[in-house]
C-alpha cells in the first residue's frame, strides 16, 4: 500500500515541510490568530482539496486510500491541515455519492457536520419547499469549516424524513464566532443558524442516507490515517527529545523506562498506520465494520501515544512551543469524527447482529 502511493507521500512530505511546519504553533492559536488562506490556495493548486473529486469534475479522481496517505503525511506535521483536507473530501464524497459532483466542483470550502453521529442527523434544521425552491431554518452546532466556507452541506428534516442540502453562505445564514475547540483548532468550527436560507436539494430519503452513511464508511479509514499520523509525529518528537537530553547521569534515551515508553508509542504508531491501510484496502466492504474498527482502534492508540508523548517530554511536552501538547489535543478531537466512540462500539455489535 505504501509503495503504491509513495510518490504522493513524498510530495506531501515536501509540501508539509515547506509550507506547514514552521507555521504550526501560530496556526494553532486559531481563532485568536487568522486562518491561513494562502496555505490552502497552495494546497488547492497541488490538488489536496479535490482528491476524491472525479477528474471530469476538476478533481484528481483518487480513491480514499490515496487520500488516507495524504492525511497521514500531513498529520505527522499538522493534523489541523489534514482535518481541513479531510472535511473537504468528506463533503465531496457525499455530494458525489448523491450524484451531485457538479455541486462539489464549485469554488471554496464546503462545511459539513463531520463530528455528528451519522445515525443522528437533522437535529435542529427543517426544510420547507417554497415557490422558488427549498428554504432551510433552524440551527446547527459544530459545523466544521463553517467560518471559512462558501457553502454548507447540511442535513434537514423535510417532513418526509431527512434530506441533504447545500446552502450558500449568504445573508440568511448566520455564523457564530469561530469556536475554540480542544484540538484541530486550525480546522475551524462554528455554530450556524438559518432563517429561511435558500438551499439546493442534494438528495432526500434513502438516497440521502445512503450517500451520507456510505461516505462515512469510506472515510473512516482516512479518519484513522489522521490518528496514525498524529501518533507517528508524537513518536518522532519524543525520540528526538530523549536523544538530546539528560536525566540524572545519562541521556534520557538510555533509561530503560523511557525506552519502554517510546517503544509503546512506536508500536501504537506503527500498528495504527497498518490499520488505516488495511481499512482502505477493504474500501468499506464488510458493511463498514472494518473501517469502524480501525477508526476506533487507531483513535484509541493515537490518544494513548500522544498522552505518553507529552509525558516523555515532561514539562516541555506540556507547553505550546513543542508539538506534543497539540498532538494530545488533536488526537482526542480526531476520535470524535462521526460521533461518540461509545456509539461506534454499539454500532459495531449491531452490525454483527444484522
Amino acid at each position: 500500500m505504501a509503495g503504491e502511493y509513495e510518490d504522493i507521500a513524498c510530495m506531501v512530505r515536501e509540501f508539509a515541510e515547506k509550507e506547514i511546519r514552521e507555521a504550526v504553533p501560530e496556526d494553532d492559536l486559531y481563532p485568536d490568530a487568522g486562518f491561513r488562506e494562502p496555505l490552502y490556495s497552495r494546497a488547492g493548486e497541488v490538488g489536496f482539496l479535490s482528491l476524491l473529486l472525479p477528474e471530469d469534475a476538476g478533481g484528481a479522481g483518487e480513491c480514499p486510500a490515496a487520500l488516507a496517505e495524504v492525511l497521514y503525511e500531513l498529520s505527522r506535521v499538522d493534523a489541523s491541515v489534514a482535518a481541513v483536507v479531510f472535511c473537504q473530501a468528506f463533503a465531496h464524497s457525499v455530494l458525489c455519492a448523491a450524484g451531485r459532483a457538479d455541486l462539489a466542483a464549485a469554488e471554496g470550502f464546503i462545511a459539513s457536520t463531520v463530528y455528528d453521529d451519522p445515525l443522528d442527523l437533522a437535529g435542529g434544521l427543517s426544510a420547507a419547499e417554497g415557490p422558488d425552491g427549498w428554504l432551510l431554518s433552524g440551527s446547527c452546532e459544530d459545523v466544521a469549516l463553517g467560518p471559512v466556507a462558501a457553502s454548507l452541506l447540511l442535513p434537514a428534516s423535510t417532513g418526509d424524513g431527512t434530506a441533504l442540502f447545500l446552502v450558500p453562505v449568504a445573508e440568511e445564514v448566520r455564523l457564530s464566532e469561530p469556536l475554540l475547540t480542544l484540538g484541530l483548532r486550525a480546522c475551524p468550527l462554528c455554530d450556524v443558524s438559518l432563517d429561511a436560507a435558500p438551499a439546493t436539494l442534494v438528495a432526500s430519503g434513502t438516497a440521502a442516507l445512503d450517500a451520507y452513511v456510505g461516505s462515512v464508511a469510506l472515510m473512516r479509514g482516512p479518519a484513522a490515517a489522521i490518528s496514525a499520523g498524529i501518533a507517528a509525529g508524537s513518536f518522532a518528537e519524543g525520540l528526538e527529545y530523549c536523544r538530546g537530553r539528560y536525566q540524572g547521569y545519562k541521556l534520557i534515551i538510555d533509561h530503560e523506562q523511557m525506552r519502554a515508553e517510546l517503544g509503546r508509542i512506536r508500536a501504537e504508531a506503527l500498528a495504527s498506520r497498518e490499520l488505516f491501510r488495511s481499512a482502505c484496502r477493504d474500501g468499506g466492504a464488510d458493511g463498514g465494520s472494518l473501517g469502524l474498527t480501525v477508526q476506533l482502534l487507531a483513535g484509541e492508540m493515537a490518544a494513548r501515544a500522544t498522552t505518553d508523548g507529552v509525558q516523555v517530554l515532561g514539562g516541555y511536552g506540556y507547553c505550546h512551543d513543542c508539538g506534543q501538547e497539540k498532538r494530545m489535543r488533536d488526537a482526542k478531537q480526531a476520535q470524535c469524527f462521526f460521533g461518540c466512540k461509545e456509539l461506534m462500539l454499539q454500532d459495531l455489535t449491531a452490525a454483527a447482529l444484522a
Binding site: L179, G314, R329, C340
Partner: protein, 514 residues
C-alpha cells in the same frame, strides 16, 4: 580521597556485574518476611490513626471544606472559563490571574497554614488536602495557584529560620485581602534539570547550571529557573541553588528572594496547555545579592530533607482527585442536558457505566491520598502536628512557642537546628521514607485517575465535550499536568520502588549511573 576512589571502584565493579539478590540468605529472607507482613499500624494507616484523632481536627476539616466549597462554587466557578479563555488569547496578560489571586486572598486561602498569632488560620498541612480537592474540582489552575504558594511557603516553614519565616508570614497576612496579595513560589526546576532535582541520588549527576556564590554578607545568585508555578505573581520565591556547582549535593540550599530583588526578572510565562490560571514562569537571576539571613537552610541541608517532599505529593494527590471529581461532575451534568440518538445521554446504559466508573475512580483516589495523609501524621513530618486526643490543641501552643525569643535565638544557630533535624529523622517512630513512598503512591495513582476521568468524560460527551464553552475540554487539558509536576510519575514509581522494595538489599540499583 583514596577511600573515596576505592569505594567508587567497588561500586563500579558491582555495577559491571550486578549482584543477584541472594534469597537463600537467612538475613535477607527475614527482611522479606518483614516487608511482606507489616504490622497492622503500617498496613492500615487510617485505622491506626483512629485511636488518635482529636474531634477538634474533624471540626477544623469541616470548616475548611465549607470555606473552600463556598469559594470554589459560588465565587470562582463563574470566572474560571473566562480566565482560561483570556489566558489562551494572551498568556502574558496577568490581570485575569490577579483577579483570581484577589479572590483567593479575600477568602484567606494564602494564610491557611500560617499560625493564628501571625494572622493565619493555623491549619495543619494535611487538613488543607480537602481544600485542594474542593478548589480543583472547579478549576485545577485556580487550585494550583493556591497550592503552589504553599510549595514555596512550606520549605520556609520547615527551615526553622523563625525570624525570616515570621517576617514573610506577617507580610502575607497583611497584604492578603488587598489589591496585590504577597504570595510565594518555589524556584527549583532549571532548563536542563527537571525531576532529578527531587531525588538525592540523582542530584550529583543533574545538569544544574545555577549557583549561589558566597560573597561577604551573603550570596550572589545566578541562574535561570523554569516552569515556576506562580513565578510571575509571587512576592517571594524560595530559590534552590547550590553554593558550589561542582559539589551540588553537598551544597544545595534554599534562599528566600523577594521579587523586588535587584538583578531578578521574569523572562516570560509559558504558554501551557492547561492550568493556565497558575502561570508557569521563566525566572532569571543575574547577580542577585541575597543576605545571609535569607538563606533558610543549612548548606547541603536540602538533600537531607528531600524525602520531606512526601506531604506535598499527598497534596498533588488531593489536587488530582479534585480534577477527577470535576471531570465526573461536568460529564454527569452534560449527560443530563444533552441527547444522543433521541435520548438524554444519561439514559444510555453505556453512559451510566462510564459515569459509575468515573465516580469509583474519585472514591479510590480520595481513599489513596487520605491513607497517605494518615501515614504522614503517623510516621512522617505531620508528627509535628500532634493529634492525640487533646494534643491537637498542642499545635496552637507549639505555634506560640515558636514566637518566643528563646526559640528564635535557638534557630539562629543553624548547627543546632541541623542537629535537631538529624535527631528527629533518626527517631524510631519517624519513618520518612515510608511517608515519601506513600506520597508517591498518592501522587501517581490519583494523577492517573485524573487523566483517566478526563479522557472518559470526553469519550462520554462526544462532540459536545470538545468546545471550550462547555468546560469539559479544559479539564482534559488541565489534568495532564498532574502526571508531570512534583516529580514525573515515572520518577515517582522508581522512588517508590527504592523506598519499599530496594531498601531490602543494597545490591538492587535503582538510580543507576550506568
Amino acid at each position: 580521597m583514596e577511600t573515596t576512589i576505592t569505594a567508587d571502584r567497588e561500586r563500579e565493579t558491582a555495577r559491571a556485574a550486578p549482584a543477584t539478590p541472594n534469597v537463600s540468605n537467612e538475613a535477607y529472607r527475614r527482611k522479606l518476611e518483614r516487608v511482606d507482613a507489616p504490622p497492622l499500624s503500617e498496613m492500615f494507616q487510617g485505622m491506626n490513626m483512629l485511636k488518635h484523632i482529636d474531634p477538634k481536627y474533624f471540626h477544623e476539616m469541616e470548616r475548611a471544606l465549607e470555606r473552600a466549597r463556598r469559594l470554589a462554587r459560588e465565587e470562582a466557578a463563574p470566572l474560571v472559563l473566562e480566565v482560561d479563555r483570556a489566558l489562551q488569547r494572551d498568556p502574558e496578560d496577568l490581570e485575569p490571574v490577579w483577579e483570581l489571586v484577589r479572590l483567593a486572598g479575600r477568602a484567606g486561602m494564602f494564610s491557611l497554614l500560617i499560625p493564628k498569632r501571625y494572622g493565619g488560620a493555623g491549619l495543619p498541612l494535611i487538613a488543607s488536602a480537602v481544600i485542594w480537592e474542593e478548589l480543583c474540582s472547579v478549576c485545577a489552575g485556580f487550585g494550583n495557584l493556591v497550592g503552589a504558594h504553599y510549595l514555596g511557603y512550606l520549605p520556609l516553614y520547615a527551615s526553622m529560620k523563625l525570624r525570616t519565616w515570621e517576617k514573610v508570614c506577617r507580610e502575607i497576612t497583611a497584604t492578603e485581602r488587598g489589591e496585590r496579595p504577597v504570595i510565594m513560589s518555589l524556584s527549583l526546576t532549571e532548563p536542563l534539570v527537571g525531576s532529578d532535582h527531587t531525588e538525592a541520588e540523582l542530584i550529583p549527576g543533574a545538569k544544574i547550571q545555577s549557583e549561589a556564590t558566597p560573597v561577604p554578607g551573603g550570596y550572589m545568585l545566578n541562574g535561570t529557573k523554569v516552569f515556576i508555578s506562580n513565578g510571575s505573581v509571587s512576592g517571594y520565591s524560595l530559590v534552590i541553588m547550590p553554593t558550589d556547582r561542582t559539589r551540588k549535593l553537598e551544597t544545595l540550599t534554599a534562599f528566600v528572594v523577594p521579587a523586588s530583588a535587584e538583578g531578578f526578572h521574569v523572562d516570560r510565562d509559558e504558554h501551557k496547555m492547561g492550568q493556565k490560571a497558575c502561570p508557569a514562569t521563566v525566572m532569571v537571576y543575574e547577580d542577585v545579592f541575597v543576605p545571609e539571613s535569607h538563606r533558610v537552610m543549612p548548606v547541603g541541608g536540602l538533600a537531607k530533607v528531600l524525602d520531606i517532599m512526601g506531604p506535598t505529593r499527598i497534596c498533588v494527590g488531593a489536587i488530582s482527585t479534585g480534577i477527577a471529581r470535576g471531570a465526573y461532575e461536568k460529564a454527569r451534568d452534560l449527560a443530563m442536558t444533552h441527547t444522543m440518538r433521541g435520548r438524554p445521554i444519561i439514559q444510555h446504559q453505556w453512559a451510566q457505566v462510564i459515569l459509575s466508573e468515573m465516580l469509583m475512580n474519585v472514591h479510590t483516589a480520595r481513599a489513596t491520598y487520605t491513607e497517605a495523609g494518615y501515614c504522614d501524621l503517623a510516621w512522617g513530618t505531620g508528627k509535628s502536628v500532634p493529634m492525640v486526643r487533646g494534643g491537637y490543641r498542642m499545635k496552637q501552643l507549639a505555634d506560640r512557642a515558636m514566637d518566643t525569643e528563646v526559640a528564635k535565638r535557638f534557630t539562629d544557630d543553624e548547627d543546632r537546628v541541623a542537629a535537631l533535624l538529624d535527631r528527629v529523622l533518626a527517631m524510631k517512630s519517624v519513618n520518612v521514607p515510608m511517608e515519601a513512598g506513600y506520597g508517591s503512591v498518592a501522587k501517581v495513582k490519583c494523577s492517573d485517575a485524573a487523566m483517566i476521568n478526563a479522557a472518559l468524560a470526553l469519550d462520554l460527551a462526544g462532540k459536545a465535550g470538545l468546545r471550550h464553552d462547555r468546560g469539559l475540554e479544559k479539564v482534559f487539558r488541565d489534568a495532564k499536568l498532574v502526571q508531570i509536576y512534583e516529580g514525573t510519575n515515572e520518577l515517582n514509581r522508581l522512588s517508590f520502588f527504592q523506598r519499599f522494595v530496594a531498601k531490602m538489599d543494597p545490591s538492587i540499583h535503582v538510580f543507576d549511573r550506568e
